[in-house]
Amino acid sequence: MSITSNPSRTSRGKLSSTVPAEQLAEIRELFEERRKGFSLDAPFYTDPTIFGMDMQGIFQKNWLFAASVAELPEPGDYVTVEYGPTSLLIMRKDDGGVNVLHNVCRHRGARVLTAPSGSTGNLVCGYHSWTYSPEGDLIHASAPGETEFDKSCFGLKKAHSRVYAGLIFVCVADEPPTDFDEVAKIFVPYLEPHDLGRTKVAYQQNIVEEGNWKLVMENNRECYHCDGHPELACSLFPTWGLTEGIVPSHLEEVWDRNKQAENSLEERCRRYGLPYEVVEELDTRIAGIRISREPLDGEGESFSPDGHRLSKKLLGNLRDFRLGRCSMHLQPNSWFHFLGDHVITFGVFPINEHQTLVRTTWLVADDAVEGEDYDLDKLTHTWKQTNIQDKAFVELCQQGAGSPAYEPGPYMKSEYQVEAFINWYVQRMQEHMA
């Protein structure tokens, strides 16, 4: 953290930023002694102080995934999101852009909007009805007898936002990392053809996992455990994460099928001018990313038992249903699957050191009709089941981290992305503490 001689008003009175020197030294040491290629020491998953530092060092510094434009289709629509102690409201403006404001009333700090989503004109705090414009300016506060009250000093605080390919990202840091715009240049060409601006939310699932946010992310970054996902195994090649040399014999046949599917997918992508190459910079930059377009098993169209499409309306201007899945991993809190017929976004919202909200949103073309073009249960089946299974895995690990016998274990070759995530995390935190 860089110490400025003239600390801004906003950092005043934050006790949490000053972890006692002794404890801080201890935590520093934990970071320094982290054994590469091994899972983290238990306190990283269980300690409230480290959680607080995670919120400062990761969630108050980096670009975070918040929602997609389909969740706030019209002017005045908003969603509220929470990253640990930070609550933001994301609102669609009249001109089509989005505003991101801190959901903290400037009177006495009440949450201004309490619903997870909705639609509103001006923003009215429920406590004493201070009223803010959609831009966050305080435009009304009844002030009987007040003579020197200057409304212009009490607007809602703003946060940075970016909308790329229909995904809304936020950053609450004063000076956000600058490489995110470069990373957007990488992923936008992959995602834009799916035209999220012309999609709608078919379903949204919120689950609270009893696990540290890092365990949720680690679990997502490997498919070593994919035997535990029978539904997903129908369409996702279980060879994911493996490379030529390390394919176990029982997967050889699948490996070949995967190769073939890959070839025909690449041919299709070339035909339609869709990028498919793997770009992987998970821990080599601040806005860590992995993106690629990969084949799906069976008919190769969607996450269904036979790989057949789950919605009959193609997204955007795509011409073909057999486009596998364009998948993106972003550090620190999101992953996505973009298919020909639907898109699934996953956002990770830490609650405390042992609880994390995982929000999964299924998007289909906005002219797709439920019951006619898609069956909601079928559309959501695979990932609903997979999420429940993953929740259980994460919770097992959280319990393990809390037990006296726990010690860090080795990540296997197929878990290189987990290592990359942890390595990314450690680097960011060390920068934060420096």
Partner: protein, 455 residues
């Protein structure tokens, strides 16, 4: 600290993206459509008489017969539909023989229309048509009939049109329609014929494919022997052939017309290359008993509908005639059964208008003024002047309305009007959407008429 909020998703003005049939506008308009536009709408089957005005010999033993309705009205149909025509083969005093023929012309030129008939020398009807129908021949017709047609509006107008032999007729209508209309489209035609000279409409197809870069046409020569100068494909339909002409077939809507064997074979292949069953539309021009019975059913249903509509039309024409110049009477179509959402809503509002202040005996009346506001939950009738803001008098009369800013900013006083007009001067406390759905802010509104309010 510099805060930047970017507005990247500003919606751009859009060019015509969707492919829209001209009558779709009429279908979705609220008010009564202009009569000419109405006449173009593919509303319903009718029984009418039509006169042959021209015959055009085509390649492949086909002949096109151009008709116009005797009543002078345009023929409204959707590209791909057919007509059921009575042919007096055994003389005028005997029962005519009914046959169905696809319309080969486009609904975008509706004042005349054509059918294209292949001469089948072993058959009873087609040779008679070829030999006897000529300019001046008048026939009884029923139509349009059939569910095999292009959609009225399509965001993804990507089609694969498959035709074999005389199956080109409805496909030709579709192609002419698409060619005539603006909008994005991506059309691939694969046309199977028996011999090089037997592809009907060959010249026009070549022309359209040349001038319209949205349309590609491919030919294949069935399984016959090949003459030397044939440059197109050879052989029956195969999966490979489909992949070759339309590698993105699985993302297209497929319309196919031809003999039964060809279509069944095509259905298998389409499944194989990944076309979803629900994206395949077929018209059989020959078929087993079941298929034929289905068509018969379609026709008899069309007959019933036509009768119903004719009766309605007759009724309407009576009072319509009073207000219209005589020659327009012919154009008066029957009422449509397509209720747009807006119409339904308008009706609902109209209903509310008439029966809202139902039993007002237990309403308390307060105030003085020229207008009456009936608050139906509070059972209060408030008399008010058109210059007075509504909130204060309403609250004082005992209507429970939350309020805070009193300036139209906070939205806390928002209530719903069931009828009547207000003039509102708000400052962002309400969204255009909410206003459209009947909400208003009484703190910054004055009444413009008597009102019924849901509060």
């Amino acid at each position: 600290m510099t805060i930047t909020t970017t507005s990247i998703e500003v919606p751009e003005p859009q060019r015509v993206r969707d492919f829209v049939m001209p009558w779709n506008h009429t279908l979705s308009a609220n008010g009564p459509a202009a009569n000419a536009a109405r006449a173009l709408g593919p509303w319903h089957p009718q029984e009418f008489m039509a006169e042959c005005v021209e015959t055009i010999p085509e390649a492949g033993g086909l002949k096109t017969f151009v008709f116009r309705r005797l009543d002078g009205a345009p023929l409204a149909f959707r590209a791909g539909q057919y007509l059921n025509i009575a042919f007096p083969i055994h003389g005028e005093d005997q029962d005519p023989v009914d046959r169905s023929y696809s319309i080969s012309s486009a609904p975008t030129s509706p004042w005349t229309f054509s059918i294209t008939v292949k001469r089948d020398n072993g058959g009873l009807v087609s040779p008679w048509i070829h030999d006897h129908v000529e300019p001046g021949t008048v026939l009884d017709m029923l139509g349009p009939v059939g569910a095999f047609h292009l959609p009225d509006v399509e965001r993804r107008p990507r089609y694969l049109l498959l035709a074999a032999g005389a199956g080109i007729t409805p496909i030709m209508s579709m192609l002419r329609t698409i060619h005539a209309l603006p909008g994005r489209a991506d059309v691939v035609v694969l046309y199977h014929g028996a011999a090089p000279g037997e592809f009907g409409f060959a010249k026009e197809l070549e022309y359209i494919a040349n001038v319209d870069d949205r349309i590609q046409v491919f030919y294949s020569l069935g399984d016959r022997s090949v003459p030397e100068n044939w440059e197109w494909m050879l052989g029956r339909l195969t999966a490979q052939m489909l992949e070759q002409v339309a590698p993105d077939a699985n993302g297209r809507q497929v319309y196919a017309c031809g003999p039964e064997g060809y279509l069944n074979h095509a259905a298998d292949l389409l499944r194989k290359v990944g076309v979803d069953d629900t994206s395949v539309h077929m018209e059989f021009f020959s078929g087993d008993r079941k298929t034929l019975l289905e068509y018969q059913e379609e026709i008899s249903l069309a007959e019933d509908l036509a009768e119903e509509y004719a009766e309605e039309a007759a009724e309407q024409t009576n009072h319509f005639a009073e207000t219209q110049p005589a020659e327009l009477q012919l154009f008066q179509p029957a009422a449509t059964d397509i209720d747009t959402e807006a119409e339904v809503e308008a009706e609902a509002v109209a209903d509310a208008d008439t029966d809202a202040p139902v039993d007002d005996s237990d309403f308390t009346s307060v105030g003085e003024g020229t207008l009456t506001l009936s608050f139906i939950k509070s059972r209060i009738k408030l008399r008010i002047d058109p210059t007075e803001r509504i909130l204060g008098p309403a609250q004082r009369a005992g209507v429970r309305i939350g309020a805070n800013c009193q300036e139209g900013m906070c939205g806390s006083c928002k209530i719903v009007k069931i009828s009547g007009e207000v003039e509102m001067n708000h400052q962002g406390g309400i969204r255009a959407r909410e206003i459209a759905s009947g909400k208003f802010l009484p703190c910054c509104s004055t009444a413009q008429s008597d009102m019924v309010i849901d509060a």
